[in-house]
Amino acid sequence: MNNALPLVIAIPMITAVISLLGRHRPGMQKGVGLAGSLALLSTSIAILAGVLLEGILSVQIGNWPAPYGITLVADVLSSLLTLVAAVVVLLVSIASWTEIDPDRVAFGYHPLLHILTMGICGSFLTGDVFNLYVWFEVMLISSFVLLGFGGERAQLEGTTKYVTLNLLSSTLFLAGIGVLYGTFGTLNMADLALQLRGPTHAHLAETLATLFLLAFGIKAAVFPLFFWLPASYHTPPVPVSAVFAGLLTKVGIYALVRFFTLIFSGDAAVMHRIILVLAAFTMVVGILGALPQRDFRRIVSFNLISHIGTLLVGLGIFTPLALAGTVFYLMHDIVTKTCLFLFTSIVQRLGGCADIGKLGGLYRSHPFMALLFLLAALSVGGIPPLSGFWGKLILVQAGIAEKEYWLVAAVFGAGFLTLYSMSTLWSEVFWKDRPEAIGDPECECVGRTFLPLSLVTPIGILVFLIVVMGIWPSPFFHLAELAARQLSDPQMYIQKILQGKP
């Protein structure tokens, strides 16, 4: 089972190469993309099953023993996230069949999507800090191109901001790696965890923790480092922003969770306090930013930021229950945010634009799509019995158990505002009558009525997942609890990687 780990990186790479070879045959690219995504999905299911049966899996690349070679590790969190990522990529690649224009496909959309997948899966599985940097860069470079290609004016502007802040974050990450290696002489995460358990270098550990918090905070769009996100996520084609919203910021969250449970968990406890404050600010400021927006995707972008804060709550409280809440919420958030961003495509097709003031009446014309949207939106708002409710419930329980009442208040406040923002979307886009005769040459609000099946099916599947996670949460919560147990007891991870070395 261990040998399946490199496959998760190899499959997207091979898919990308084959679909690059078939550049001028869009039909073949679709087939290859579908086959590759299905292969990735089945491999990641196999890995999750293997982790549940045999415990943490690991591979030493090139058979170099642990602290020297590059390690690939899959614990429950990594394999779970790989699985969710595979689901998202599969659905988004299906949605891209009709939602990406032929020019962009000819330019290499499909290979880029799979290279991005490779970077995401690599980041989830690596057990080496420098290797994580490399996967981040693989992910970033493909996301730069995905964001910018097509060359519309808004896209170029969005890309400028995205590129600048993400490069800045990479520089901080790289500086952190340099200091880490210079101090501890190792970059293997398990080895680092072991060395930082020792009494030495406490002050340096805090400095390093701050550097990594900044670097990953920019990637994850944490307050006050999130301004690149609402400036760029509404500019590219819808499937691109759906996969970005679903997965890219979550890789930043994953890196934060990994670093602050495994490496910086002992001496740098003050950092968890800082994370808690940042989480509260991200939740509240993010959702306040959503309120005045009028563009469908910008509203969802600000909601995305707010929920990044909710994800960090569990990491800040740092008890097994809270971490389980974060893992559960992570699964929910990836699914719902991808779903909401894909909905932009539906809204743009039916209404002709994305400005919520000019939209309306979609409930009357397409009640089924409106119902699907309502389920996704209520889940984001945290209404029982949908997936978002359970995630928030666990986090609130953990917060009350640790007597962090102000944080619980922030979660509730942000929750109410999220519900308000979602109901604005509902009433403006679906419920109210369609405003007639608005003479705006920029936005010809002439909608089409045709919805391709390849767009509706992925959304349907995502909403189905949301409902399943809502009415049958116990298996998902069980998985989240297992992941949290491994995260809060890193000894298992360290021993597995270092194979009983001191």
């Binding site: 808004a154 170029l156 590129v163 490069l167 520089t171 500086a175 790696i177 290696y181 210079g182």
Partner: protein
């Protein structure tokens, strides 16, 4: 040992210059600033890896590990990787700014705000 002090000062200078350039309004200076920040980080890894002169990491055939002081090759390998990645990213950034200049006829970041402003 003095070389390390000089290198540390260089790293600091590069960071300062990079940050200054990133905060300019010209998009060309922005890209130059990002490149300088990348160099600063690479040089930081190099300096932190420890500077050892005339001690190559070679061992006798009968040894199983290296003893004493030796020049650590790992930071160089890290820097090499980071330089290659940085090169690719900078190539992309240069194409991007060229495209922006051709499309919009400006290199002033203050005129590139349409995606930030709420209409």
């Amino acid at each position: 040992m003095t070389v390390e002090v000089e290198l540390a000062l260089t790293v600091g200078g590069l960071y300062a210059a990079g940050l200054y350039m990133v905060l300019r309004r010209s998009i060309v200076k922005l890209v130059i600033g990002l490149a300088l920040l990348g160099h600063a980080a690479n040089l930081l890894i190099f300096t932190m890896g420890g500077l050892v002169r005339g001690q190559p990491p070679l061992m006798h055939p009968w040894d199983t590990r290296l003893w004493g002081r030796f020049a650590d090759p790992v930071p160089e390998a890290l820097i090499l990787t980071a330089i290659v990645i940085g090169f690719g990213v900078q190539a992309f950034a240069i194409v991007l700014i060229k495209r922006i200049y051709l499309d919009m006829g400006t290199e002033d970041l203050r005129e590139l705000q349409s995606t930030d402003i709420t209409p």
